[in-house]
Symmetry: C2
Subunit: 136 residues, 2 copies
């Protein structure tokens, strides 16, 4: 709990019980979390405020949004992002069976040689398949 407290202070966000619990939940999650799953676990907090909380976390570079194609936006802690730039150009993986989404920090993103006439600046890659847990 004290780690996440430090994160909030470092980003000049006020330390409130709601923020602590949300951030703690994400800090210890093994997969990216959807807003829905946060609501389910933290029932007593207001759903609308949760939108604002996630938005401010995202703006400060504490978390990043993952569009994994399931329709549900998910969020995960940023490894090295800040309010100026999101370094979220790593590969994401979404399991077709359990629906969980992970950041594949260890996987090298492919270099896109610019064969098209368009100028490539960023990219978003989501791999899909069966995750380690569901394979066994």
């Amino acid at each position: 709990m004290s780690e996440v407290k430090e994160i909030l202070k470092k980003k000049n966000l006020r330390v409130t019980p709601m923020r602590l619990q949300i951030l703690d939940l994400m800090f210890h999650a093994s997969a990216a979390v959807s807003q829905k799953s946060i609501e389910a676990k933290l029932k007593d907090f207001d759903r609308i405020t949760l939108y604002r909380t996630l938005k401010s976390f995202e703006e400060k570079g504490i978390i990043h949004k993952i569009e994994d194609g399931t329709g549900l936006n998910k969020y995960a802690m940023c490894a090295d992002c800040d309010e100026h730039h999101h370094h979220d150009e790593h590969v994401h993986f979404n399991c077709n069976k359990c629906g969980d989404t992970f950041c594949l920090e260890d996987m090298e993103p492919p270099s896109f040689v610019n064969k098209t006439k368009h100028q490539i600046e960023q990219f978003n890659i989501v791999l899909k398949g069966t995750c380690e847990m569901c394979l066994n």
Copy 2:
């Protein structure tokens, strides 16, 4: 107009004016089209029916949905899809300036060597940047 008529017949969908016009629009579009842009061009048709039309086209493998990260879902004709399988594993490109999205049919998708413990089966790649038109 006769090409799209053949497509509908081949997929066992009834040939109606609405379907012809929607499909014709997508057939001749240079970029993927959003539902909003279809509504703008085909004002006289019912918005709700358009949802169902796009859904049935997608289910029959005539078009595929592209989630380009703009929030607006877009659709493009499938090169070689059918009701059993979508071969939409080509790379997509989204322009930050004009917002247009293209299928990069010519770009070879990278082969993902399975370095993770998860089993990779499909992928979704969206490149972002500035398109040819906006560069000039």
